[in-house]
Amino acid sequence: MRKGQSWFNTTSVALGFAFLYAPIIILVMYSFNDSKLVTVWGGFSTRWYFELLQDQAMLDAAWITLRLAFVSATVATLLGTLAAITLVRFGRFLGRSVFSGMIYAPLVMPDVITGLSLLLLFVALGVDRGFWTVTLAHVTLTMCFVAIVVQSRLVAFDRNLEEAALDLGCPPFKTFLVITLPLILPGVIAGWMLAFTLSLDDLVIASFTTGPGATTLPMKIFSQVKFGVTPEINAISTILIAIVATGVLIASLVGKRREVERQKAERLALRGG
């Protein structure tokens, strides 16, 4: 049952995509602009990319951001996974609802509040603010996202698999390592990637909790924009977009290949040989 596209559908799709992607396309286009003025087209050039390579402050910020995202995502994944296991596996325990509420609180808390309260905490404790305070702040923020992703995977997990391993003589902790973990790994990896991305583009919380020598890329870009947008910022944004787009593409390709393999396996099973 194939219908012709109505003009209404076509227009709404076009408008929707334009709204989502036009700003990005313009941003990418102007990163190849020869002119120093962002809004005036002065011919094609890659000079801003070369200029970016000379800008040590910008490169430092990028490096710090990546390191920060990596460390905080890893710690958040570890803690978030443990939290998810506790919530799914340990049934009812004293303070369970308080625990689950506290884990999900950062999800709905405005960034400004989280940032401010963390800042007040660090000041009160007299901690020197810098790389590690931002990392800590990002762990707090992203842990709940990991917990949610891993939890959904664990809920769908067949408990009999663990019981079968125990039944065959495998002690509980080893069972977790060789049976549970490999099977929830896609959820754990997805959680890590989510945490990484969230940390990568956070501006508000990082601004509150950072100190000297720990300027992240979003902070750097934001502070530069205050003095006017240079095409250099367009260039670094384009690079970020390219990285993210590549990641998404790879993830979807891997997913598709898996699907094809799964269907092949099912056909094989149906033929009974």
Binding site: N160, A164, L166, P172, A269
Partner: protein, 383 residues
């Protein structure tokens, strides 16, 4: 899987009748509560070595909980579970000499068939060569040699079932626990597999404990059956005893098809019981001693295949006989079930084996018929 002749072994196997034989598995006054819910209620049961024992009952009757307590996945709230003389209390599942085949098969999806079967052996640190030999033996046993490198999701339902069986047998457990092992298979494959299971159990000489809600399955595979209801055992007996001498209406009704008629006990000569039965409009005589007092409520239960249906009046005046009219006929191929309405309004079921190809039914709708049965065809039940 054709082994040595199993007839003589099965015929003479009855350790439960021998007071000298010690039980292999013993549940002693076991109670299991989940919060308010009592899953198993002060239950005692003995199972013997090399026995194929079935726990039969509707879902929620506590049969799976009972099995899980033997496997170590649930601890009894009260009472003891013993295996081979050893109290299993407090021993975790990974240190128990039992293995379980799960209803969902629980095959590890990220491991090949080979690795699934080898998993248990690897946990014990068995030498590599021995693991290899044992896994190959298991693969041959379930005829899956060609599928060793496949992942579980690349197998059909029947093949997965056999992998699960091979995996649970690989460690030579003292007891194999089977939780609804054939539930996911289609009817034909299930019937085949039932016979394979009994042959396998004979061949390996192991003790099997099966949980099922399918009475045919229990009857086919088991040496003895425990019929359960609401956390208690109603009757433990061989399939034939359960079928022919049920001890209660619950068992009689749960296993197979049966007519149950209510009545009151009347005075009878010794060695027999007489039931005043309003439904038949006559007294029913059964060759059976009943301890219950005269006048007490009781039920007469008779299987449809033991009721003879005929157009002619019985010549022997001593048999139980009632008149009725054929109300409905259910044709099942191998047998036909006749629903006969008596003058009292009660309906009795009688089956006829269709021994010849049916051209025209000798007895058909609205025929006036006689239903007769001998004195030892049915049983009197008092509960």
């Amino acid at each position: 899987m054709v082994g040595p002749a199993i007839g003589p072994i099965r015929r003479s196997f009855a350790p439960w009748n021998d007071p000298g034989v010690k039980p292999f598995i013993e549940f002693r006054h076991v109670t299991k509560r989940f919060g308010e819910f009592v899953a198993v209620d002060d239950l005692s049961l003995q199972i013997y070595e090399r026995e194929f024992f079935a726990l039969l009952g509707p879902s929620g009757c506590g049969k799976t909980t009972l099995m899980r307590m033997l496997g170590g996945f649930d601890e009894p709230t009260d009472g003891q579970v013993l295996l081979d003389g050893q109290d299993l209390g407090g021993i975790p599942p990974y240190r128990r000499p039992t293995n379980m085949m799960f209803q969902s098969y629980a095959l590890f999806p990220h491991m090949s068939v080979w690795d699934n079967i080898a998993f248990g052996l690897r946990q014990d640190g068995t030498p590599k060569a021995e693991i290899k030999a044992r896994v190959e033996e298991m693969l041959a046993l379930v005829k899956l040699e060609k599928f060793a490198r496949r992942k579980p999701q690349q197998l059909s339902g029947g093949q997965r079932q056999r992998v699960a069986l091979a995996r649970s047998l690989a460690k030579k457990p003292k007891v194999l626990l089977l939780d609804e092992p054939l539930g996911a298979l289609d009817k034909k494959l299930r019937e085949e597999t039932q016979f394979e299971l009994t042959d396998l159990q004979m061949k390996l000489g192991m003790t099997f404990l099966i949980v099922t809600h399918d009475q045919e399955e229990a009857m086919t595979v088991a040496d003895r059956i425990a019929v359960m209801d609401q956390g208690r055992i109603v009757q433990v007996a061989t399939p034939a005893e359960i079928y022919e001498q049920p001890n209660s209406r619950y068992v009689a009704d749960f296993i197979g098809d049966i007519n149950i008629l209510e009545g009151h006990l009347a005075p009878a000569p010794p060695g027999s019981t007489r039931l005043e039965c309003a439904a038949t409009g006559a007294n029913v005589e059964v060759r059976q001693e009943t301890a219950a007092p005269t006048g007490g409520q009781a039920w007469f239960a008779i299987r449809p295949e033991k009721v003879r249906i005929s157009l002619d009046a019985p010549t022997d005046p001593s048999v139980n006989a009632v008149r009725g009219e054929v109300w409905d006929i259910g044709y099942l191929g191998d047998v036909s079930i006749y629903h006969v309405r008596l003058s009292t309004g009660a309906t009795l079921k009688a089956t006829i084996t269709n021994a010849t190809r049916l051209v025209e039914r000798p007895i058909t709708w609205e025929d006036k018929v006689w239903l007769t049965w001998s004195h030892d065809a049915g049983v009197i039940l008092t509960r």
